[in-house]
Point group: C2
Chain length 326, copies 2
Amino acid sequence: MSEPVIDVVGIGNALVDVISQEDEAFIASEGLRKAAMTLIDEQRAHHLHGAMGPSTEMSGGSAANTMVGIASLGGSAHYVGKVRDDQLGEIFAHDIRATGVGFSTSPASGGGATGCCLIVVTPDAQRTMNTFLGASVELTPDDLDLDLIGSAAVLYLEGYLFDPPGAQEAFRVAARAAHASGRKVALTLSDSFCVERHRDAFLELVEHDVDILFANAAEITSLYRVETFDDASQHVRGHCEVAALTRSEHGSVILAADEVHVIDAHPVEQLVDTTGAGDLYAAGFLYGYTHGHDLARCGYLGSLAATEVISHVGARPAKRLAALMR
Amino acid sequence: MSEPVIDVVGIGNALVDVISQEDEAFIASEGLRKAAMTLIDEQRAHHLHGAMGPSTEMSGGSAANTMVGIASLGGSAHYVGKVRDDQLGEIFAHDIRATGVGFSTSPASGGGATGCCLIVVTPDAQRTMNTFLGASVELTPDDLDLDLIGSAAVLYLEGYLFDPPGAQEAFRVAARAAHASGRKVALTLSDSFCVERHRDAFLELVEHDVDILFANAAEITSLYRVETFDDASQHVRGHCEVAALTRSEHGSVILAADEVHVIDAHPVEQLVDTTGAGDLYAAGFLYGYTHGHDLARCGYLGSLAATEVISHVGARPAKRLAALMR
């Protein structure tokens, strides 16, 4: 087994975020599921966009945000995800490459437009996400460069990938390739409703294929159908090598076979928009993990990166994280 | 002559801004003309975008920003400008309508893509603009609703419209229609290099067709080919009813036949990005003008709106200006 040449390869739904600030009444009047990710079709996307106020467009996508975070910390990352050959697809490709992340998935030349996530940010800084998957559903195992995946220390997969059927298969093929090269497989559960949609498949994956699991309290309790965070943490221990469980302002808990770390959240001066908090926590953690830091330091770096991203609008760092880390 | 039913109709190049933060070295290495607006072709736009870091996309366009500012202050505004029927065109149309500005120009179904302005913001908060006009050049007199123009108290034209040849003609037709209905015609000189490109035409317009002129110090000295702001202000007086001349942090000077007002700039807590400062000054001024305020109050409202827009990234207000005004 050769030394890895890349820190992390991430696979996910490639999306451009369309962000607007709305009041609480908007959530009710549009019937949105607050603070969750809801899948919507193109017609609903048109309606909802029409109802939203003036918006800002920024590249997003959960695993893509994580890869950008790793690059911003000074790590090496590659991303796999499907856009279309349209304007938003060009913007997505530009932005991810501009941060130094490798991105070579060929854009779809037919089918749906580049996927987008309509994000409503309320005055309490919560984000409510409404995803039109668009071209993301075109991702198949053919889009994988298995040599590249085998050359990365960690393969990172987002749970959202379980929504488009072709991507599920790519997900499994990639995980096998990573393990065949002796690499680690990391998964984020993404969203508690996503866990509900795919619970059995996730349980099987966590037991058999996942080395590093990321989840928040709602996701991990949903996965094991238990009431409390503590109950869930008893279940997950032993099922995968490392579980990094985030608890918003209460920090995070990292569980490994013979280690437990309780990590404080960083103080945040001004909480503006929680979009990307989990994605950037994973970025900081995986940067630490692939650079030989202990698990407590990995958790610290996760908190640091998450704190930067929630202090402004948008799911990607506004400052170079490597400078913050020093 | 009937009472106007709309405060302002604005005509301009419809653009989506693509904004990135870069250091001073980037301006030099890409050979950009700092703090100015430079016209670029599609090939150059591709190159420059490729060189820029990760970007944020927000609807822009000078006169469009001004109309959005008027609506944000609680005024009624309509916008005329040409996008294509593509993704960025949809975003442009959505954003301007979402702020309450009327927008009914039909998008082009062929030709260039929706125009964009690649904006590089340096640490000194200066913006350097590089415009690919795209579909903007398709604007012709056929896109004008002359009844609508005749129903607005003020017709507002951006000097940038002189770059696309068809738009120049639309510009003149619109001005005639406004005057035929007894309305006022306002013009912003937009950019000192734009003044250089079209000096003779601008001089003729200012003398014969423009009632309200907006210009900054560089633009007005370029127009009259004089050295000092004071020299320029002697020239402009008498050539049009009102001239509102902006001087960045030194505030503005308003000249009319028998009035002169020297208006202070508002204090700004944090200067982040000067994009849109002139556009929003015009918005505040015209809101005041069309709501029966005296010229000093018009200048005060211009400064207030400009100060909001330079305290954050992007050329349109992030807060509702009507609330700031109270």
